[in-house]
């Protein structure tokens, strides 16, 4: 069974590679390369897969999941400038894809004790753009 928990955080970012020129960055990332940054209301959907526990009837304790998401994602990223305040985005370009991978890695490290497993991280940058990441290479 799949269980999905939603969270939101608002953050600013710049998508630009310091090794490239401003012209090259603009060609690659468009308006996202504006050096002063811009922001989004990111919406995160974390999906866990597992069998409901025979005693509790739950795939995963939602209260615990909420706490893990808050500690690993919302607290460190909400109302922050990702490039300046949230490693590894001082050296990794914070595209939607790379933010989703970082969130996956952070959550994965907290779910190893449970028989349920992290199935998917869906990250909306806007209502019209989202990525799905399932831990694949």
């Amino acid at each position: 069974m799949l269980l999905t928990r939603k969270a939101e955080f608002s953050a600013s970012h710049v998508c630009a590679n310091p090794a490239l020129t401003p012209v090259q960055n603009h060609a690659l990332y468009g308006a996202n390369a504006n050096p002063n940054g811009h922001g989004h209301n990111f919406v995160l959907e974390v999906t866990i897969e597992g069998d409901p526990d025979p005693v509790t009837g739950m795939v995963f304790d939602l209260r615990e999941l909420k706490e893990i998401i808050n500690q690993e994602v919302v607290d460190p990223m909400d109302h922050r400038f990702l490039n300046y305040e949230v490693p590894p985005f001082d050296r990794v370009v914070p595209t939607t894809e790379n933010i989703a991978i970082e969130i996956w890695n952070r959550l994965q490290g907290r779910l190893t004790a449970s028989p349920a497993r992290l199935k998917n991280v869906r990250l909306f940058e806007t209502a019209d753009l989202y990525v799905d990441y399932g831990g694949e290479a």
Binding site: C15, N17, L28, Y29, G30, V92, V93, P94, T95, T96, E97, N98, A100, I101, A127, D128, L129, Y130, V131, D132, Y133, E136, A137
Partner: protein, 138 residues
């Protein structure tokens, strides 16, 4: 990794098949068989799949947007699906057939490194049609 992007277009259509009588069409398609047609604000989600490249992206958003706008939206927005879209001639303009048509329009022109994975079209907020594309694009 999959990346999905949402687009919108407005179009009219009428559901009717020459294989059935006027009465049978009216019974089968109901209001959608109105001879003068009717319209919807369609919402299209295009999903691409592939590895994250050195730029940190599955796909160049500007290239994807251009492809969809040029080869799908420009041909469907503010059009009559029964009359104005050659790919749909001879087919009933259901959203099932429209989803296949949009997937084909994209596949024929696809020149992006990521694979076209899925086309999902909502005719209204209540009716949604989704097609996983098997075809390996470039």
């Amino acid at each position: 990794m999959r990346l999905s992007r949402r687009y919108r277009f407005a179009a009219s259509h009428r559901l009717n098949t020459d294989a059935l009588t006027a009465e049978e069409n009216a019974a089968l398609y109901g209001k959608c068989n109105n001879p003068f047609g009717h319209g919807h604000d369609y919402v299209v989600d295009v999903t691409v799949e592939g590895p994250v490249d050195a730029s940190g992206q599955v796909v160049d958003r500007q290239a994807l947007d251009w492809l969809v706008r040029e080869h799908v939206l420009a041909r469907l927005d503010h059009r009559n699906l029964n009359c104005d879209v050659p790919e749909l001639r001879g087919q009933v303009a259901t959203t099932e057939n429209l989803a296949s048509t949009v997937a084909a329009m994209l596949t024929v022109r696809w020149d992006l490194p990521a694979r076209l994975a899925r086309v999902r079209i909502s005719e209204t907020t209540r009716n949604t049609f989704e097609l996983e594309t098997e075809l390996e694009t470039k």
